[in-house]
Every structure is written in structure tokens, then in C-alpha cells.
Amino acid sequence: MTEPKIDIGTEQFPLVDIDDVWVRYNGKWVLKSIYLQCFSGKILGIVGPNGGGKTTLLNVILGTVHPNKGSVKLFGHPPNKNSRLDIGYLPQISHADRSFPVTVIDVVLMGLYNKIGLLHRVNRKSKAEAMALLEKVNMSEQAQMIFGTLSGGQQQRVNIARALASKPKLLILDEPSTGIDSVAQEDFYELLVTLRDEQNMAVIMVSHDIGVITSHADQIACLNTQIHYHGRPDIALPPDIQQKIFGRNLHIMIHDDKCLTCFKRHENHD
């Protein structure tokens, strides 16, 4: 791949560098020629319809799905077990496990298990560390409550605390607003912005809800098997630069809150 790459909005070294990645599932291409970069201190939002390959793309970044073609670099290297430790991951909230018998602090402690080590017991120091993480997300008062009894927004804050336990450089969120009311969503995204600014963390979040992503992300990528990459919401790059940055398979367009162009494209792809 000789095509020059230009970092979008920053000269920083990309934490995630996806270069012409193709993934095939059951004889069908679910990801085609994906180029994507993600930088420290930025929130990258990936939007797209359900079945558009969002979760597969996250799995490619996490290294749990291997591309059929193309290369993925995570912190400068192909993803492996060690690079994964620098990622904090928030899965979709699952309502099936509301009765799982763990307290809020148990959930946060799980994030510390790898550090505590196999065969070792949780000690007072780990518990203090977990409490400090809960304070950071303003959930320390609920530490002894059963996790499943919390509201969706509270559960996501606790999940953030767990994800922060490994002091990640990159936070990945899969459909973070599912099951959260709009007031709690605002609080949640404010927390993400604070983390981005205070810890210079990179954040990747995927959602089918474009409104949520556009109001909080620094960069937006639109995914439906292929990526239609958007830069900042209010900037349109000249066509020659578009070509240079995104190559032949990516299309940049002016992005507004409604993103009608983008959704028309999705409909055409479906």
C-alpha cells in the first residue's frame, strides 16, 4: 500500500490504523476496503445501520476477528493479547443478566482481575482502587448495590469504571446509549468528554443512532459494509484532498445533524 495517509485533524501517531481491511462471513463480505484511523484525545463515532458491520469492525480492532485481507495496527502493532490490555471495552448493556448475583463493586473489581493475577485473591488495596474508580464516575454510593438493579445509565457509568481499571489508552463503546434515557445519556457523554480531555484518551463508539454520535464525536465515520468517512461535522474538504486522504473507496461529504445524504446512501446499499 503506497497511498500516502494523512492524519485527520492532527499530526499524532494513530492509535488504531486500519488499512484496506476486508472481512468475509459465510461467503458474504461484511467489511469491504476499510480505512480508518483513530487518535489520542479524540472521540471517533462510527454510525451505520444494523448489520452494517459495526460490531465486526470493533472485533477487528480488538483482534478477535482476523481480516481476510488488509492490515490492522493497534498502538503501532498487529493486535495481540497484550495490546488488548490497553483497551477499555464497553459491550452493549444486556438486560438478560439483571439477576446476576454481583454488586457494583464486584463488577469494577473484575476490571482489576488481570492485574491482580490468576490464583491471587482480591485484597483491600484492589478494593480501594475500585472505590476510587467508582468515585470518578460518581457511583461510589451505589458500591454495594446489586448491579442488575441499577438504571441503564448507572450501569454504563459502572461499566466505564470497570473499563478504566486497566488504565486504557483507548476506550471502545458498543451502542452505549441503548436502554438509557436522554437525560442520563447527556451525563454519560459529558463523562466521556471529561475522560477524553483529562486523560487524553481515544474513544471509539459505534451506534445506529446518528443523532447521539454527531453531537459528541470529534470525528465521524459512516459504515455500511464500506466506510463513508466524515471529518468534523462542519468541514467539507476539496475533492483532491478527499481522494488523497480516503483513497478510491471512501467518500467524504458535508455532514449535518440529520445526515440525510448518508442515510440515503445506506438505503441504496441495502
Binding site: 493479547k81 459491550p91 448475583p101 473484575m110
Partner: protein, 271 residues
């Protein structure tokens, strides 16, 4: 002579009680994870696969316990391996291996020219078959299972709670999956003589299931599961001894009654 019989009965009762308590501890702790990880069907499959192992041991004239451990290890790990592949669900893998192991068992018995009366005892449990040697095996292997679970408890809990996040945060999920299934196999095999291959699956499910209805914190859930298992096993042994009923079946019926009571209590609590 009478004293001799009394002594014999004392040892028999001792064996039965110690074996019952040890197995209750082991099966209750395993059932805690069986319920949290929704492994009820796999535990039934692994339990039945031990039958193939017992039959092989009888055919070859080696210890049925050893051959059953080997068989259950292979089957449980094969289910986990094949069920983890794309396009195949664990359910399908269990359905295949469960019946394959039983079928092999039937063939092995057919090939064996010695008719073995012990077989019924292995299938449905027979407390009369528990010797001091069995008790020692149950105690040693039971301790191995309990200590192993204790050592990796937090990781097993994490995997049960959120497998994907556990994997990404560096927990050796695949290894622990196989490890847990191996412990499950070991628990099944040491329970064969007391409750039987067919009935042990009930004790791999009921204590955890009933406890999950009564409490929502894991330390108390384990305690409740252990209590239910001990009450069912010891109560079942006593009832079966005095009423002259099959021990394994009596234990399972008692455990099921406790489950129904727990279910009723949980429904009343909801109202």
C-alpha cells in the same frame, strides 16, 4: 457377631455420610457456575457420557472410575471445542456427543461377555457400593475440585458474567473453559456411585438453581446452594436407608422438592 454387624453398619454409615457431604460441597459449587453460565444441558451431556467410560472400563477389566474420568474429559472438551466453532452451536455438539457416548457404552457392554451387576449401580447410584476406598477417592478428587475452583474463582465469575470483556481484559477464557469442564467431569465421576450417572445431572443443576431464586449475592448464593445439596444428600440417604428406597433417586426427589419450595417462595416474594 452382632457387634461385628454393628461395626460394619457404622462404617457403612460413616462412608455414606462422609461421601454425601463431600459430594454436596463439590456439586453445589459446580452447580453455582452451571446455573450462572447456563450450562445445564452440557452438564447432563457430560454426566451421561460417563456411562460410555464405565462400560469401557468393564469391558477392558480396568477401574470404571478411571475410564469414566477419561471418557468424560474427552467428551466435555470435545463438546466445548466443536461447539465453539462457527456454524455449530454447543447445543448441537452436546446432542451428538451425549448420544454417541451412550451408544458406545451399549456396544461396550454388548462386547463384554461378563454380565456386570454393578452397571445398574453406576447408572442410578447405590450407597451400598461405597467402600472405604471409594470414600478416599471421593475425598481426594473432591478436594482437588474444590481447591481448583477456589484458586480461579474470580476469573470463572468474570467469564460467567461477561465473557467478551473477560477475554479482552486478558483472562485466559479458553483455558478456563476447558479447565472448568474437566472439573465438572471429575465431579460427575466421583458422584456416580452415590447418585448415579443418570441422576447426578439433577444435582449439578438444582442446588444452584434453587439458590439463585432465594438470594442475589454470590457469596450467599454459594452458601444456600451448599446447604440445599447437603440437606438433600444427607436427608435422602437417611430416608432411603430407613424406607429401603434407592438412594440416588431419593436424593434427587428431595432436592427437587426443595427446588419447588424455593420457587414458591420466590414467587411469593415477587407479589
Amino acid at each position: 457377631m452382632k457387634t461385628m454387624i454393628d461395626l460394619f453398619q457404622l462404617e457403612f454409615i460413616q462412608n455414606a455420610f462422609f461421601a454425601g457431604i463431600m459430594l454436596s460441597l463439590v456439586l453445589a459449587v459446580i452447580s453455582f457456575f452451571v446455573i450462572l453460565r447456563r450450562l445445564s444441558f452440557i452438564s447432563v451431556g457430560v454426566a451421561h457420557s460417563a456411562f460410555g467410560g464405565v462400560a469401557l472400563g468393564m469391558l477392558l477389566g480396568i477401574s470404571p472410575t478411571l475410564s469414566a474420568i477419561g471418557f468424560a474429559f474427552i467428551v466435555s472438551n470435545a463438546i466445548s471445542y466443536i461447539g465453539g466453532k462457527k456454524n455449530l452451536s454447543t447445543d448441537t455438539a452436546i446432542g451428538i456427543f451425549f448420544s454417541l457416548a451412550m451408544a458406545l457404552g451399549v456396544i461396550f457392554i454388548g462386547l463384554s461377555d461378563r454380565y456386570n451387576v454393578d452397571l445398574f449401580g453406576y447408572l442410578f447410584g447405590n450407597i451400598l457400593a461405597i467402600t472405604r476406598q471409594d470414600l478416599i477417592i471421593i475425598a481426594i478428587l473432591g478436594c482437588v475440585v474444590l481447591i481448583s475452583i477456589f484458586l480461579v474463582f474470580k476469573e470463572l465469575l468474570f467469564i460467567a458474567y461477561d465473557r467478551d470483556v473477560a477475554l479482552i481484559s486478558g483472562i485466559p477464557v479458553a483455558f478456563l473453559d476447558h479447565f472448568f469442564l474437566s472439573l465438572l467431569s471429575l465431579s460427575v465421576v466421583i458422584s456416580m456411585k452415590v447418585v448415579g450417572i443418570i441422576l447426578v445431572s439433577a444435582l449439578l443443576v438444582i442446588p444452584g438453581a434453587a439458590a439463585s431464586l432465594l438470594t442475589n449475592r454470590y457469596p450467599s448464593m454459594i452458601l444456600v446452594a451448599v446447604s440445599i445439596a447437603v440437606i438433600s444428600t444427607i436427608g435422602g440417604l437417611l430416608i432411603s436407608y430407613f424406607a429401603d428406597l434407592a438412594s440416588g433417586a431419593t436424593i434427587v426427589v428431595l432436592a427437587s422438592l426443595i427446588f419447588f419450595m424455593a420457587f414458591a417462595v420466590s414467587q411469593l416474594k415477587k407479589k
